[in-house]
């Protein structure tokens, strides 16, 4: 579904992604884990067209998207839940959700979608006219996920959904990601620092180390592989 070939991305002179090839198949949860500064967020931003790549290709359902502007990529059905939630702080919860459906034309369907999201996250319904900036971190994460669901994307890109969130809420959000995949058949690319959590959630995993993929395989296998811990803790 999503196919990345030999992708390189630079920030000024700094090559952050140094030739990555990976694939996400339909219906899968694929996770990309790795320590700080490995280039995970950059990869997701490049897929969504916020950051431009310097070489290599990204294909989504057969369309090359690495030269497309981000709003066209959204139209194709890629929903990105960015690192740090990035809700619109001065807008209400409802307005935030409406922004999620910005590219959709069918207003009736949108209403249904809204009800669906409030079913998934009853807490958002209670806060419907509250400014998003006043929500707690966990609630903002739910809002960010809800905002992405509004688009009904074919692929969700989750960027560090557990970052800066209370442990209890992390579990809730993890459940939500699982449900999206199992009940609604969503394809998910999950970027996480929390390797143990990500490996439990996903089917397959790639481990990124300073811009390169150093390990890949089924998540269950990697969960018991002590090489993962060694990469994280800097053993030679």
């Amino acid at each position: 579904m999503l196919n990345i070939q030999d992708l390189c991305v630079n920030y000024e002179k700094n090559q952050v992604i140094k030739g990555i090839s990976m694939e996400v198949k339909e219906g899968e949860i694929v996770t990309l884990i790795g320590a700080n500064g490995a280039g995970k967020t950059t990869l997701l931003r490049t897929i969504s067209g916020i950051k431009s790549s310097s070489s290599g290709s990204i294909e989504f359902m057969g369309n090359p998207i690495h030269k497309m502007p981000s709003h066209k990529i959204v139209d194709l059905g890629i929903g990105h839940i960015p690192e740090g939630r990035r809700v619109f702080p001065e807008m209400t919860v409802k307005e935030n959700l409406e922004m999620g459906a910005y590219r959709r034309k069918d207003s009736k369907e949108m209403k249904k979608e809204l009800d669906h999201i409030f079913e998934l996250f009853p807490r958002l319904k209670e806060r419907i006219s509250q400014r998003a900036g006043t929500l707690s971190g966990g609630e903002q994460q739910m809002l960010a996920i809800g905002r992405a669901i509004m688009l009904r994307p074919k692929v969700y890109l989750f960027d560090e959904p557990s970052l800066g969130i209370a442990p209890l809420v992390i579990a809730e959000i993890a459940q939500m990601i699982k449900r999206l995949n199992e009940e609604e058949g969503a394809t998910i690319l999950l970027v996480e620092q929390n390797a143990n959590l990500a490996l439990k959630l996903s089917h397959r995993a790639y481990i990124l180390e300073t811009g390169k993929i150093s390990l890949e395989g089924p998540s269950e296998e990697l969960a018991n592989d002590d090489r993962v811990q060694k990469i994280y803790l800097g053993y030679e």
């Binding site: 920030y11 002179k13 700094n14 090559q15 952050v16 320590a35 700080n36 500064g37 560090e160 557990s162 970052l163 800066g164 442990p167 209890l168 992390i170 579990a171 809730e172 993890a174 459940q175 699982k178 996480e192 620092q193 929390n194 390797a195 143990n196 959590l197 990500a198 490996l199 439990k200 959630l201 300073t210 993962v228 811990q229 994280y232 803790l233 800097g234 053993y235 030679e236």
Partner: protein
Amino acid sequence: MLEVKNVCRNFKGLQALSDVSFTVEEGTIFGVIGPNGAGKSTLFNCITNYFPPSSGNVYFEGKEITGIKPHKITELGITRTFQHTQVFPQLTVYDNVVTGQYVIKQKDPGRTKTQFDEDVERILKLVGLDSYRETIASNLSMGDQTRLAIGIALATEAKLLLLDEPAAGMNPEETKQLMNLLRNVREQGVTIVLIEHDMKAVMGICERIVVLEYGQKIAEGTPEEIRQNPQVIKAYLGSGDIA
């Protein structure tokens, strides 16, 4: 040499640093690590007073330095580098190092021009850039720019260097060279505090390491102790509880 005592820092109600304390001994290489957003750069900013700590104190050689202006802190002997923009891009390598000597006029007004020139030569040799002296800094590779930044810091004759992610964007070979350089710098009697993401590098070079998570110190010890520490492992790999 450097003592950080109960330092806290808030941003709009968010606690970026809470009650962090540690001591750096003279002549050591000291690491500060932690996951993203743990407050490492904030810690450097508080030490060098880019912004002051909300509470707590910082002492250098027994003297309190909390709240002193950045350029005065350099005069006392602490110099820091930054994560990304670390040199003066349009100046030559040579002039970059000379710029670092500006503070010496305050420290030691009697120094002669020959002494200044000799110092530049010595530093250029030490950081391995003596054959690039006329190169414009922005034309250097990332790795060379970082070495130049360390050269500038050395030119201020700092007793304590605070380096913020010097190995960012380097390939493994460059990182290795950088670590060798840091060892040489330490041989010159300079104490180093290092923020670094590259765990291999940190573990290989530091005598002691402090680990921050969510603005709190969760561990301190030798690299081996840190690797064994369950809290550190949890901070890095996560708990993985799906309720």
